[in-house]
Symmetry: C3
Subunit: 237 residues, 3 copies
């Protein structure tokens, strides 16, 4: 019995289907690694390496507190000019006696593809952070305005884009939800307040200030989910 | 040289093998997302959304403390009637000044398939929890019988079922292993004790009470593993 | 139209490509499970099961503090002879009133294959640990030289090898970076110092002592990354 071209076409379709499904899992794996790297780099104040995780697109942004920093220029202002100077005096290296561990976990990643084949993704993660200084660091050498030692809890809803063969962060949407001084815990927790002025009035300020949906502890807002309920398909919250 | 039907059959078998292996990884990914969602919903007291993660099967259940709540009716009694009223006064929304962060991590998921092709799964996860109230919440408005602020550590051994094209929780097997008042830590930790009466004697009680293997800190029981040792294949513990 | 052998060869190549990519994801999944199991076994002092996670190769090793324990003999000395006796009096089971939770997270795993087809892997993980004793345990029955109750943060850079159809640990590269007494937190944190003598002078000692790159809190060294920057490809740090 001869083999028909139809058999071949059917096999080709099966292979394409598998390749698409496999690509989806590879994309999820790559984005987990990207965000986990963001966490490891942030631990050690490697801010230029953090900035390099972002897309060069003018749509790239970071949401931190009530501000949005736009594009590589804004993102560099936040990480290198603000955090890098505050935490490392501009060296962008780990500083003796400064702990900033970013524990990243609980990923939920969803890949999309638009009509022109451009792949994008959304990801939710949790961060649990231990921060602060060691007693051996003189008070004047500790980061200004940062609690002596604190816990922090927050959630990310991020956006990613596949460009030039690599996944990059398009939007880092960090939502710090609570901070707690180590001595008092969250019973006595007072979280960092937002920024007041935009750039350039504040030379480190964001390009935009968001006035709603940025409340912190003891408020307990729900961060919207980028994905629907896994069983019912309903929008949650 | 002509192509033989055997070549096609061989390719088909290779494709089926790949499809099965790929399905296994997709299932693991889906179950991670399901449990991570359980954690995110629990943070914010979205109890109806939690209940919706479960199968409608009469075999569905939740193990909490020394009790087992059976079926959607029992599961709703636990989450909505007990937790929802205790933590949110029945609103099933995040409550100002109440922290209940469920950090989910360390998944080990194993997929099975029975003879009729029904896919089921087991999953082990760890939970690390920060709970309690903010000082600004008047004492009479804090959840009754809940420590002011506390840490909690526990493990899950869960069962899942693939039904109607979706993974659902069949058994949520939570094992709270320790709790610690924030002030005293686990050195002084006293964990919540179990329930004493079943439903309907206790209108929020479980359908069943388990009397063995539910000890909590300072006891340090080992939760049996659903999977064998990854190298030796031996049963552990 | 007849089907050509070329069509078949092309399909075979596509299938081989998919199989290789799928294998990569299966390997990552297996190594996550291996390390997560290491964490669960360590929680409960199941040290013989921990040792069984390692390769029998003479190249197998554990890096702990400033020491390296070589081969199954050295690894057994560290886990069974040292930890097993210190924490469990040689029973290698969970001990009443002793908490040792190893929270494992934030994996980044990279698979390699050498010319002879031998698969190896490297993996970075974070550990966050809660340790110590309960007040009900008499002082003389608590582990000697271990802080009463403490937090610990550390990173792993591990190596794995695929042998006899299973992934095994080749090198467990643990880097304890900080410890903090519960009362004082990391503001007052003093981390465990290294070992001073090798085996057999110290009957529990390592086979080798490493003198550089092992500083702990309040030092904040960066643990080199086994992988390059996910966007730029540059070596980080």
């Amino acid at each position: 019995m001869a083999v028909s071209p139809d058999s071949i076409a059917q096999l080709e379709r099966a292979i394409t289907n598998l390749a698409d499904r496999l690509q989806n899992l590879e994309d999820i794996t790559a984005i987990r690694h990207l965000h986990h790297s963001y966490g490891y780099y942030s631990d050690k104040c490697l801010y230029p390496s953090v900035v390099d995780l972002f897309s060069d697109s003018p749509l790239a942004s970071v949401h931190f507190l009530n501000g949005v920093w736009h594009g590589k220029t804004g993102i560099t202002r936040l990480f290198v000019d603000w955090f890098g100077v505050l935490f490392t005096g501009g060296t962008n290296k780990p500083t003796k006696g400064l702990l900033l561990d970013h524990l990243m976990m609980q990923d939920i990643i969803t890949i999309s593809q638009n009509e022109s084949g451009q792949r994008t993704a959304k990801g939710r993660f949790r961060c649990f952070l231990q921060g602060g200084s060691h007693t051996s660091i003189a008070k004047e050498n500790r980061p200004k305005g940062v609690q002596e030692q604190f816990w922090e809890g927050g959630l990310y809803e991020n956006e990613y884009i596949f460009e030039d063969g690599k996944w990059k962060i398009l939007t880092l949407g960090y939502n710090m939800l609570w901070q707690a001084d180590y001595e008092k815990g969250w019973f006595g927790g007072e979280a960092m307040t937002g920024v007041e002025k935009c750039f350039p009035e504040d030379p480190l300020g964001p390009d935009e200030i968001v006035t709603e949906g940025k409340e912190v502890w003891p408020e307990t807002r729900m961060l919207p989910f980028h994905y629907s309920h896994p069983v019912t398909g309903a929008t949650v919250g």
